[in-house]
């Protein structure tokens, strides 16, 4: 698959801090409308890689290409406008506002109405759309709760719904089940699959929970010490002796 066909391709991405090379010449591509995962032990460079895709960190060299367009030099908010939505490892919400307010804010941004100052926010955003998004992630009954009060699982769901409000081309999920109790991890995994199906977006995910990764991802890339050691279908990766040694074997 050429770089132009891929929803996202990373070409020779490298980042180092001082002498410490965190991400080493990583090439990776995500096919349109699929779920791809990056796994690796702690300190493998997953989060750095993610931040380079979302734009919080600039790579030393290499390119980030979104649907054929080189976005390496763009700011995070410019990338967001091009269709990259990120869910953070620790849920980032507007903590003093209600769940519905959070979604409404995201919708206003998505509709390019966040700068409007001549209408009330409630009238500028479609209430039905807010409800629909909350329902999509199963938070309809939490609409009026302040986001800072929600459970960890619900916080993640709310953040996913905020990302969906942007109708993203590429959804980045950084450890979506981190800090979430095991029984809720499966709920979130199912949610990710359903959301991908319904929206048709591409998903790139990092995850510690192997059950979640192998249940969700169609393509898995394994990072160790900043470099790719293996990539393929979940079955191929599971069978790879090097992966077993470096990562799965450690568990």
């Amino acid at each position: 698959m050429s770089a132009d066909d891929a929803a996202l391709s990373l070409v020779g991405l490298t980042k180092s801090y001082g002498r410490n090379v965190v991400v080493k010449n990583v090439n990776l591509s995500v096919s349109p409308s699929t779920i791809a995962a990056v796994i690796g032990p702690n300190g493998a460079g997953k989060s750095t890689l993610f931040s380079m895709v979302a734009g919080q960190i600039r790579p030393d060299s290499g390119q980030v290409v979104l649907a054929g367009e080189d976005i390496t030099s763009l700011t995070p908010h410019a990338r967001a406008r091009l269709g990259i939505s990120r869910v953070f490892q620790v849920a980032h919400l507007f903590g003093s506002r209600t769940a519905a307010d959070n979604i409404r804010t995201a919708l206003l941004v998505a509709r390019r109405r966040s700068g409007v100052f001549w209408r009330r926010a409630r009238q500028a955003a479609d209430a039905a759309e807010v409800t629909a998004l909350l329902e999509q992630v199963g938070l309809a009954d939490q609409a009026d709760r302040v986001a800072g009060q929600l459970s960890q699982g619900d916080r993640k769901k709310l953040e996913i719904a905020m990302c969906l409000a942007l109708s993203p081309k590429l959804l980045l999920l950084d450890e979506p089940t981190a800090g979430v109790p095991p029984e809720e991890s499966q709920v979130i995994a199912a949610l990710i699959r359903r959301v991908q199906r319904e929206s048709g977006c591409s998903v790139l995910i990092t995850e510690h929970d192997m059950k979640v990764v192998f249940g969700v991802a169609e393509h898995v890339t394994v990072l160790a010490h900043g470099a790719i050691i293996c990539a393929g279908t979940p079955d191929e990766v599971r069978a790879d002796p090097q992966v077993k040694a470096v990562y799965l074997g450690e568990r």
């Binding site: 209600t98 941004v109 100052f117 009330r120 926010a121 409630r122």
Partner: protein, 346 residues
């Protein structure tokens, strides 16, 4: 982060939230009613009494507008500016410089435009930071402007400009204009926070990283907020100049930047009307406490300290503090008192 529901609602009281609007505490409504009644009472007595409006009442109104505009930055944007006197002073000096040549309406408009322009220019540099760094850099720029004015003979140097008159208005007409400007300005700022622009500002305050990841240009929003706050500070400054009739460099000094911050904290910076209440209380205290004693600020400081120990989130939070105490006492009978104050919202 352990934040209880009531505390969060307290913290965000007086804003456009689903929960807040439904459960807005009755105490807050009473305060609003009281503020409205005071304003109206003063207004009516001025119109019917026939006596000339006192400078003290005019000062309170000016401070209400000034403090409310500053709180757009402190309370709603996480941009604690310690240099708003630069814009208050710019407005005052602009008005003073043109007062002899043009009518007051044009002078006020020009003051707004000039202070907004200065705020926009400074803003391009300073809003790249937030929090403490922002406080420092705004303080620095504010003092630079102060020294510039202090040392510029063209604008009167350290003597300033005297004889600023509000031609062609009578004192009563000016009092009406002052009321219209202050009530109108505060209402505009209130409206702004209800709009998508205001909601996005609150979102940026809560979580800039999330806002950026959604595609919000945080820098642009902060710059606009800074410019708007500067414009309203400028309007307040110009009104002050007309009210007192003289402008001096100390209008730009850092103490004048500190006043609205103290007022916001005193009234409650998380309440929209907090700064207004703080402005009334602080201005009254400074005017009446200590009499002719040179140590009046010592007494004022002591009173402020006492108020903030009782109500750390400002005067408008007192009804909530009382309810919390009553609730704790009720529950305290059944279970040990724990974490009553845990998780102050940040």
């Amino acid at each position: 982060m352990n934040i209880s529901g009531t505390q969060l609602q307290d913290a965000v009281g007086g804003r456009d939230g689903v929960v807040a609007s439904r459960r807005k505490p009755i105490g807050l409504w009473l305060t609003y009613a009281l503020v409205a009644a005071c304003t109206l009472g003063v207004f009516v007595s001025q119109l019917t009494g026939g006596s000339a409006p006192s400078f003290f009442l005019e000062l309170i109104l000016v401070q209400i507008l000034y403090a409310t505009s500053v709180n757009l930055l402190i309370g709603y944007s996480n941009l604690p500016s310690f240099g708003q006197a630069a814009f208050f002073g710019s407005g005052a000096y602009t008005a003073a410089l043109v007062a002899g040549d043009v009518n007051i309406f044009f002078a006020l408009a020009l003051a707004v435009v000039v202070s907004a322009a200065i705020a926009a220019a400074l803003g391009t540099l300073v809003v790249r930071t937030s929090g403490i760094a922002f406080a420092n850099i705004t303080l620095a720029f504010g003092q630079m402007l102060y020294l510039l004015v202090f040392n510029t003979k063209l604008v009167g140097g350290e003597n300033g400009i005297a004889g600023v008159g509000f031609r062609p208005l009578s004192p009563t007409d000016f009092w009406i204009l002052l009321n219209v400007c202050v009530v109108g300005g505060v209402a505009l700022l209130w409206w702004l926070l209800k709009t998508p622009f205001g909601v996005t500002l609150l979102a940026i305050r809560d979580n800039p990283a999330r806002a950026t990841a959604l595609g919000v240009g945080v820098y642009g929003f902060r710059l606009k907020a800074f410019t708007i706050a500067g414009a309203f500070a400028g309007l307040a400054g110009a009104l002050f100049a007309f009210s007192i009739g003289i402008v001096t460099p100390d209008l730009l000094n850092w103490t004048r930047s500190g006043d609205p911050i103290i007022m916001s904290v005193l009234g409650g910076s998380k309440f929209f009307l907090g700064p207004a209440v703080g402005a009334m209380v602080l201005t009254t205290l400074v005017q009446h406490v200590g009499g002719s004693s040179a140590a009046y600020l010592l007494y004022v400081g002591g009173i402020l300290l006492a108020i903030l120990i009782i109500a750390p989130r400002g005067l408008l939070s007192i009804p909530q503090e009382i309810r919390r105490l009553l609730r704790n006492r009720r529950e305290g009978a059944r279970q040990p008192r724990i974490e009553a104050r845990a998780g102050e919202p940040v």
